[in-house]
C-alpha cells in the first residue's frame, strides 16, 4: 500500500471509528457480531477498587468449555450435568434461569475435564447448538423448545474428530455451516435437512469462517489436516491449504483480512500468513512463534494478539505483527486461559480465574486493572456484551461482572 492510500484508509478508519456507536451490543455468536473476537463497545468501566469488581450474579452451568452468547437480554451457554448436556438460557439482568434444554451426552473426559466444547449460535428466534457427538439442535430462543434436531454426523456418515465437535454452527443466509468431515457440512437452518457434506475424514475444531467478498459465497473449514475453502451453496472445493498438526488439532479460526489469511495451530505447528487470490493461497511468511493450540488470535490495528503454546504447560501471551510475523512482545508467565478485545482494550482471563485489562498496545503489555473473579481452572475466553463481562470456569461457574459506566 502506498503512503497516500494508507493515509486515506487510516482517515477512513478514524471516521468509521468516530461514527461507531459506543452503545451496547449483543454478542450473539462465537467470536462476536463481526466474527473477529472484538467487541466495539468502549463505554465500559474497569475501575475495580482494591481489585474488586462488581459481580452482578453467578450461575452454575455444568462442566464444559462452551463460551457464552448474548441476545435480547439472555445469556446462552452449555454445560454437562449428570449424563446430559444442558443448554442454559439465563437472564442477563439478574442471572435467573429463563429456560433449560438438555440432551443425553457422556462427559467424555478423556485427556481433559470433558463436557461440551462448542458455543451456541443465536439467529433471530432460534438458537443452534452442536453437541460433541455431532447432533444439531434448533431451539426456540424464547422458550427453549426444540424446533428440530438432527444428527449431522449420522446423516453425513462422517466420523467425529478425536475430542468431538467443538465448532460453533455458523448461520449464512438460510444455511447452517457445521464443521464435520473433510471439508464441512451444510444444513437447511429451517429444517435441519442436510444439503451437502464432505468426505469421511476428521474435521478440525475451529468454527467455519466466511470468505469476505467471495462470489459465489465461500467459507473456510478447518479439517484435521487442512484449511479448505468451499462454496457454501454447493460444497464445491475451491482450494485446500494443507496444515498438518499432531492430533489433527486445527482449533483456531482462520483470520482473513485484506485478502490475507492467517493460520495457526499448536503442538509445534506454528503460524503462517497467506495471500488469497483465485488460486491456492500463496505463502507470505511462516513462524513458530505463534502456536494457537485452542484459542484463535485477535487481529487489531495491524497486530495479532494471541496465546502461543501449550495451554497445559502455560501458554505465552503475544503480540505479533500481522505483516511480518515479528513478535512485538511476549508475556511468558501469565498462564492465560482466554482473551477477548473490547473498545481497544484486551480482556485476559488467566487459567486461575484472574481478569486483567490492558490497552491493546503493539509496544507493551501494561495492565490497568486486575480482579480475581472465579475459582478453578478457566480455559474459556471471556466475553464482553452490553457492558458486562462473562467468565466461566471449566467446572461450570459462570460469573457476570457489571462493567457498565
Amino acid at each position: 500500500m502506498n503512503t497516500l492510500v494508507r493515509r486515506a484508509v487510516l482517515s477512513l478508519t478514524i471516521v468509521a471509528f468516530l461514527l461507531t456507536p459506543l452503545s451496547a451490543e449483543d454478542w450473539f455468536r462465537w467470536r462476536g457480531p463481526n466474527l473477529d473476537g472484538i467487541s466495539s463497545e468502549s463505554d465500559w468501566d474497569c475501575d475495580w477498587p482494591e481489585g474488586k469488581a462488581v459481580i452482578a450474579w453467578r450461575a452454575s452451568v455444568g462442566i464444559g468449555y462452551s463460551s457464552v452468547v448474548i441476545a435480547d437480554g439472555r445469556v446462552f451457554t452449555i454445560g454437562h450435568v449428570d449424563g446430559h448436556d444442558v443448554v442454559h438460557a439465563i437472564h442477563e439482568s439478574d442471572g435467573t434461569i429463563a429456560w433449560r434444554f438438555q440432551y443425553p451426552a457422556t462427559l467424555d473426559d478423556r485427556d481433559f475435564e470433558g463436557g461440551p466444547t462448542s458455543t451456541p449460535t443465536v439467529d433471530g428466534e432460534q438458537v443452534y447448538v452442536l453437541s460433541r457427538a455431532g447432533e444439531l439442535f434448533c431451539l426456540n430462543v424464547g422458550t427453549g423448545e426444540s424446533i428440530w434436531q438432527q444428527s449431522v454426523a449420522e446423516q453425513a456418515d462422517v466420523r467425529l474428530p478425536g475430542w468431538g465437535c467443538s465448532a460453533a454452527p455458523l448461520v449464512v443466509g438460510d444455511r447452517l455451516l457445521v464443521n464435520l468431515g473433510a471439508a464441512g457440512a451444510v444444513v437447511d437452518k429451517k429444517t435441519g435437512e442436510l444439503i451437502w457434506s464432505s468426505e469421511d475424514r476428521e474435521s478440525g475444531y475451529a468454527t467455519p469462517v466466511v470468505m469476505p467478498d467471495s462470489n459465489p459465497p465461500a467459507a473456510i473449514f478447518a479439517s484435521g489436516k487442512a484449511y479448505v475453502a468451499v462454496e457454501i451453496e454447493t460444497g464445491r472445493q475451491l482450494w485446500s491449504e494443507r496444515w498438518l498438526t499432531s492430533f489433527n488439532c486445527n482449533a483456531a479460526d482462520p483470520i482473513i483480512s485484506e485478502r490475507r489469511m492467517f493460520l495457526s495451530s499448536g503442538y509445534n505447528r506454528g503460524a503462517a500468513l497467506f495471500e488469497l487470490g483465485k488460486e491456492a493461497p500463496k505463502l507470505i511468511w511462516k513462524s513458530k512463534e505463534m502456536k494457537n493450540q485452542i484459542h484463535g488470535s485477535i487481529l487489531y490495528e495491524g497486530c495479532l494478539y494471541g496465546l502461543d503454546g501449550d495451554m497445559e504447560a502455560g501458554a505465552r501471551l503475544r503480540c505479533m505483527d500481522w505483516k511480518t510475523g515479528e513478535v512485538r512482545w511476549s508475556e511468558d508467565d501469565l498462564q492465560p486461559g482466554g482473551m477477548t478485545l473490547a473498545g481497544g482494550r484486551l480482556i485476559l482471563l488467566t487459567e486461575s480465574g484472574e481478569l486483567l485489562v490492558a490497552p491493546a498496545d503493539a509496544e507493551v503489555w501494561r495492565p490497568i486493572a486486575e480482579t480475581k473473579v472465579v475459582e478453578g481452572k478457566c480455559w474459556t475466553g471471556p466475553v464482553l456484551s452490553n457492558g458486562r463481562i462473562y467468565v466461566r470456569s471449566i467446572q461450570g461457574e459462570l460469573v457476570c461482572i457489571d462493567c457498565r459506566s
Partner: protein, 436 residues
C-alpha cells in the same frame, strides 16, 4: 497463582522466518554427517533440531509409519536447513537406499533393537533413545552389535551430562552427603480412573501393521498414537521403563556401575482400574503405581512411582533421594539439586538446573559429546554399556512385577531360574526375528 509481569521490548523476541531463507544458519564446520531420523515424532524431532543446530548435520532421510509425521517433519527440516529429506515408511528401505553416517532412533521401545542393529549394520553411528530395548535380550543384542563394530552409540540419557547432574554427582562422590546407605528414586503425577477408549480403524496416514511390527498386533485406538505408546506394555514398559531408566542411571553413575544382587517389584492398577482389551474398546495396561527394590551389596535402592495424588507434601515429584550420614541429597529435574543436612543448624545447599526448554533436557550437550566421540574416538558419556545397564535394571523391575516374585541377578543373567530367565526375551510376531 501470583502474576508476574515481564515485558520484552519490541524486537527482542524472535522474528518470523522469511520464506526464502532457512531460519537456522548452521555454524560452518567442515564435516556434515548424512543423518537419518527413524521415528519422526515429538522427541525424535527434539533431537533432530539439536543435531541441526549443532551445525554438522545434513538430514537426508526420515522414516516413520505415519505419513503425516513424515510430511510435517520433512517440512520443518526444510524450514530449518533449506534441504528436503527423503521420506520412508519402512526403515529397512531407508538403510538400503540411503548412505547414512548418523542415525537417530526415536521409535517406540519395541522397535529400538531392530532399528539400531540395522543402523549399525548399515555403517551408521547411532544416537538411540532410551530404553535400549523392550526386553533385556534386545538391549544385549544392541550391545553385541555395537561391540562388533567400530561405530559410536550414544544413548539419549542427557542426565549424564546435564550441568546440575554433573555437579551434584561430584558433591555426592566427594562425600558431601556422607556415607549413603539408601537411595529412593521417584516420579509422581496426578491421575485417576481410566475409562476405556473405543477402538477404531487406524487413520489412513498410519501403517498400523508396521507400527506394531514385532510386537503383538492389537486393535488401534486414538490413545496409542501419536504419543501414547509408553502406557501399553506390548510397546514399552510404563513409567519404570521410561523415567525409571534416567533415575536408575543416576544411581549407577553414583555407585560406579555396581550390579544389584536381587530385584523385587510390586504394583498394579487400583486407581486406573483393570486393564481392558476387547474388540470394541481398550485401556492402557501399564501399572498406575509401582515399587521396585534393588538390593546392592552396600546399599538398597528403591523405585516408586504413582500416577495419582500429585507430588504430595514434599513439594517435589521427581528425582532421587540419596540418604547419607550427613543428610539427604535430592537430585531433581527442573528444581536442580538440593542437600538437606542432617544437622538442622547447617544450611541447605542448592544448585539450580540448567536445562533447555520447553521440554527441560540437555540434548545439546549430549549431542556435542556424541559428535566429539565420532570425531576424536573419545568415549561417549552415555555409551551403549551405560544405557544397557540402566535399561536392564528397569526391565528387571518389570520382569519381577510380571512374575510376581523377587529375582536374582548375577550381573549378566538370572541364574538357576528358567521361569524368570524366559522373560529376558519374548517371541516376535510374524516374520520378525528376535535379535541376538
Amino acid at each position: 497463582m501470583p502474576i508476574q509481569r515481564r515485558t520484552f521490548l519490541a524486537g527482542t523476541a524472535a522474528a518470523a522466518a522469511a520464506v526464502s531463507a532457512p531460519a537456522i544458519h548452521a555454524a560452518a564446520k567442515s564435516k556434515q554427517y548424512r543423518t537419518a531420523l527413524i521415528g519422526a515424532g515429538w522427541w525424535g524431532m527434539n533431537i533432530l533440531r539439536e543435531a541441526l543446530a549443532a551445525g554438522q548435520t545434513k538430514v537426508v532421510a526420515l522414516a516413520d509409519v505415519d505419513s503425516d509425521r513424515l510430511e510435517i517433519n520433512a517440512e520443518e527440516v526444510n524450514d530449518l536447513s533449506g534441504e528436503t529429506p527423503a521420506v520412508y515408511s519402512d526403515y529397512r528401505e531407508l538403510f538400503e537406499k540411503e548412505d547414512i553416517e548418523v542415525a537417530i532412533i526415536a521409535t517406540p521401545d519395541h522397535w529400538h533393537a531392530l532399528n539400531t542393529i540395522a543402523a549399525i549394520n548399515a555403517g551408521a553411528h547411532v544416537f538411540i533413545e532410551k530404553p535400549t530395548g523392550h526386553t533385556i535380550g534386545e538391549s544385549q543384542a544392541i550391545l553385541n552389535a555395537s561391540e562388533m563394530s567400530d561405530r559410536v552409540v550414544q544413548v539419549g540419557m542427557h542426565r549424564r551430562i546435564g550441568p546440575h547432574h554433573v555437579s551434584g554427582m561430584k558433591f555426592l562422590k566427594s562425600g558431601g552427603a556422607g556415607e549413603v546407605g539408601m537411595v529412593r528414586m521417584f516420579v509422581h503425577s496426578r491421575g485417576g480412573e481410566e475409562k476405556p477408549t473405543r477402538n477404531s480403524e487406524p487413520p489412513e496416514n498410519l501403517d498400523w501393521e508396521m507400527y506394531c511390527g514385532p510386537a503383538p498386533l492389537r486393535p488401534y485406538c486414538g490413545r496409542i498414537h501419536p504419543g501414547g505408546f509408553r502406557n501399553y506394555l506390548g510397546f514399552a514398559n510404563g513409567t519404570l521403563g521410561d523415567w525409571g531408566v534416567h533415575w536408575l542411571d543416576q544411581v549407577l553413575w553414583w555407585c560406579d556401575q555396581q550390579s544389584p544382587r536381587s530385584v523385587y517389584s510390586v504394583g498394579g492398577r487400583p486407581i486406573k482400574g483393570e486393564a481392558v482389551l476387547t474388540e470394541k474398546e481398550q485401556t492402557t495396561d501399564a501399572p498406575d503405581h509401582q515399587i521396585a527394590t534393588y538390593q546392592f551389596d552396600d546399599f538398597t535402592a528403591h523405585w516408586e512411582h504413582r500416577r495419582f495424588a500429585g507430588k504430595g507434601p514434599e513439594q517435589t515429584s521427581i528425582g532421587c533421594y540419596f540418604f547419607g550420614t550427613k543428610g539427604t541429597f535430592h537430585m531433581g529435574w527442573r528444581d536442580g539439586w538440593t542437600f538437606y543436612p542432617a544437622d538442622e543448624k547447617k544450611s541447605i545447599i542448592h544448585e539450580d538446573s540448567q536445562l533447555q526448554e520447553p521440554d527441560g533436557h540437555n540434548i545439546k550437550l549430549l549431542w556435542a559429546d556424541f559428535l566429539q566421540a565420532i570425531e576424536t574416538g573419545s568415549k561417549p558419556v552415555a555409551g551403549i554399556e551405560i544405557g544397557h545397564q540402566a535399561t536392564t535394571l528397569s526391565l528387571l523391575g518389570m520382569l519381577s512385577l510380571k512374575l510376581g516374585r523377587s529375582i536374582q541377578w548375577d550381573g549378566n543373567t538370572i541364574p538357576d531360574d528358567p521361569d524368570a530367565a524366559r522373560l529376558l526375551r519374548r517371541d516376535y510376531r510374524g516374520d520378525w526375528v528376535y535379535p541376538s
